[in-house]
């Protein structure tokens, strides 16, 4: 899953990035409102963490412009202000969740995972597909009760397919959501990784559709 973090305080941004990457996310970072707006409009993210007090363009405006541009990605808003009037304004502008500073990194990770999962239409933290069981909060997967030993990148791919199970996920879409902006993977890297996941799954759950992509079901 790929996440955009828009926050101007550099140390806080670094901590967020580290915590999110440790949790298995691919993270892009923007340090001001204009850059955040641009990235959110042009790149594909599964969720965004947006600080409200940003230089150049404030968070509420960025959020509003994203929604106007049709970007429906779930947004977790960060701010020091915890008056209810201000929280309500953030939600009215299109936020999906709200965390006040100071906060625990764990809270951000948990809430983001829940937001992404709900946005993909899964009401429960667990996604199942036949014998496959994926715990989105714990970041682990099992087949027939046996834990799957997956690398971070493999888990990311499997998680994305599971979130969008039953639907064809194209190659470029998958690349966009499991690699960051600066990565430029070789054209067949994904094929290699999917093949490896298949081997570990042992069950035939990932279907390849020639020229279109993959589907988990």
């Amino acid at each position: 899953m790929r996440v955009l973090v828009v926050e101007d305080e550099p140390r806080l941004t670094l901590h967020l990035q580290q915590a999110l990457e440790a949790a298995g996310f691919v993270v892009d970072v923007a340090y001001d409102g204009e850059e955040g707006l641009y990235l959110g409009e042009t790149e594909a993210y599964d969720a965004a963490v947006l600080d409200l007090g940003l230089p150049k363009l404030d968070g509420i405006s960025v959020l509003g412009r994203w929604r106007e541009a049709g970007r429906g990605l779930p947004v977790l808003v960060l701010t020091a202000r915890n008056r209810w009037a201000e929280k309500s304004a953030a939600f009215a502008a299109g936020a999906d969740d709200y965390v006040t500073k100071p906060f625990e990194m764990e809270e951000v990770v948990t809430r983001l995972r829940a937001l992404i999962r709900r946005a993909a239409g899964h009401a429960s933290p667990e996604i199942t597909c036949g014998p496959l069981r994926l715990d989105t909060q714990a970041g682990r997967a099992w087949v027939d009760g046996m834990p799957l030993p997956l690398t971070a990148q493999e888990f990311r791919i499997l998680s994305y397919l599971a979130h969008h199970r039953g639907r064809v996920v194209g190659r470029s879409e998958l690349v966009e959501h499991v690699y960051d902006r600066n990565a430029d993977p070789e054209s067949n890297v994904l094929d290699v990784l999917v093949a490896r996941i298949r081997r570990k799954l042992k069950v035939d759950l990932i279907h390849t559709l020639r020229g279109q992509g993959w589907r988990l079901e």
């Binding site: 008056r83 309500s88 939600f91 009215a92 969740d97 709900r118």
Partner: protein, 451 residues
């Protein structure tokens, strides 16, 4: 947005009226002079015309005998500008020497008996004023036209001269008056400038406006002083709260410092103390805000239904994981006399607390006097209510009734003089909180209770 300057408005207004007045004066006076001059001119022409008529006689055959009128030597000087002429409409019977061989054109049939004045051109091409009339002599078949003419040049020049004098004099008068008005306006507006100066100097010193001001400005000065007093009070309150906060933060900071100075700092202590710091900041900030805001006069009444819906929208997203049902049933007549911000804070905290502890359902209802928030959670025992509504909260967020939300509501409600009651919801079985919308609203008694 600023409206045009007072000074400019007053001076411009005066200038307009002055221009209108002087303009009208110039027109009227100029016209009056012109009329007087013309009238005098016509009188002179009329006199000469009568002298001319006096010397026109008929002889025994009925032919006209025309003598020479006396009284104006210029009639004898060629092209002098003064002329007389007697004609019968076809030929000139007699004319003045000054006219030489020129013939004054006659007008078409002037009324018999009346003197007719008109302008014409003389032998030199000069502008003339002609006075003429018909004369019917006894025995004559056709009337005689008699005319006397004089050059207009001098008359016209007199009028022009006067007009110029009028304009110049008016101009000078106007300038003088405008100068006087400008001085008057400056003088009149001075108290305002003084007031502005006094306010400016207050910025450095602080305090109130004193000094004497004219009656019209006094209400403004009084209102400003009320605002200044209020601000001073707010600043004092803020200072007090800042002082309290700074004081309260010192202990956890000291503990932190101490722990960080050791060889192996205990992270539990670090976590605890930073949490304590955060909590204290929230608590004191919240109190300071509540007090500052409660001091403001209420503005527009705030519709409760709208604010409750805003909070509900936010809370449905915040607690989306729980799958709760959050309903808002607020009568449109419910209005809160206070700031929207305060009502948001009260309702937001109450509804958030309800959502945290509810099993499945939270209900918010409001009528014109109360807002009720109830949930189907565990509710609060009387001891827990007492603990939750006491000022100065514990840190523990895991036990019901603790945490800052209810403390903030209690503090804010107390500041605003609103009643707050906690009991058990008979519909949902959990906590029910009832908040009065107006200060000193007595909550309605329960059905079956004696009031």
């Amino acid at each position: 947005m600023n409206t045009p300057s007072l000074r400019r408005r007053l001076i411009l207004g005066a200038a307009v009226w002055l221009a209108l007045g002087l303009g009208a004066g110039i027109l009227v006076l100029g016209q009056a002079f012109r009329d007087a001059v013309e009238h005098g001119f016509h009188e002179r022409l009329d006199a000469h015309l009568r002298a001319l008529i006096a010397v026109v006689e008929t002889d025994a055959t009925g032919a006209a005998i025309i003598g020479r009128p006396v009284g104006e030597p210029r009639f004898e000087q060629p092209y002098s500008g003064w002329y007389w002429q007697v004609s019968d409409g076809v030929t000139v019977k007699a004319r003045s020497r000054s006219l030489w061989d020129f013939a004054l054109p006659t007008a078409h049939a002037p009324e018999s008996g009346a003197v007719h004045y008109r302008r014409d051109t003389g032998p030199r091409g000069e502008a003339l004023e002609v006075a003429e009339r018909d004369l019917i002599l006894p025995g004559a078949t056709r009337p005689l036209h008699v005319a006397v003419a004089a050059g207009r040049a001098k008359v016209d020049a007199e009028v022009q001269h006067f007009d110029l004098l009028l304009v110049v004099a008016s101009g000078i008068l106007a300038l003088g008056l405008m100068g006087a008005i400008a001085i008057q306006v400056s003088f009149g507006l001075r108290p305002l400038a003084r007031l502005a100066g006094a306010l400016e100097s207050l910025r450095d010193r602080g305090g109130r406006l004193d000094g004497a001001y004219p009656a019209e400005v006094v209400p403004l000065v009084q209102a400003l002083n009320r605002v200044l007093d209020h601000d001073a009070q707010l600043i004092e309150t803020a200072r007090t709260h800042m002082g309290n906060l700074a004081h309260a933060l010192k202990t956890p900071l000291a503990v932190l410092r101490g722990e960080l100075g050791t060889a192996a700092p205990d992270t539990t202590i670090l976590t605890d103390q930073t949490a304590r710091l955060a909590h204290l900041v929230d608590l004191h900030l919240g109190r300071a805000r509540a007090e500052a805001v409660a001091a403001h006069a209420p503005g527009q009444p705030v519709p409760v239904a709208e604010v409750a819906e805003d909070m509900a929208r936010a809370l449905r997203k915040i607690h989306a994981e729980r799958g709760l049902t959050l309903t808002v049933a607020a009568a449109p007549q419910g209005f809160f006399r206070g700031s929207r911000d305060d009502l948001s804070e009260l309702l937001g905290n109450l509804m958030d607390n309800a959502c945290k502890w509810a099993a499945r359902e939270v209900r918010v209802s409001a009528d014109s006097r109360t807002v009720t928030v109830e949930d189907d959670g565990p509710g609060l025992t009387p001891e827990q209510v007492a603990a939750a509504t006491r000022r100065g909260r514990r840190l523990d967020e895991s036990a019901p009734g603790s945490g800052l939300g209810l403390a903030i509501v209690t503090d804010l409600a107390a500041m605003l003089g609103l009643s707050l009651e906690f009991d058990r919801s008979d519909v949902l079985g959990g906590l029910r909180v009832r908040l009065g919308l107006r200060p000193d609203t007595l909550l309605p008694p329960e059905a079956g209770e004696t009031p």
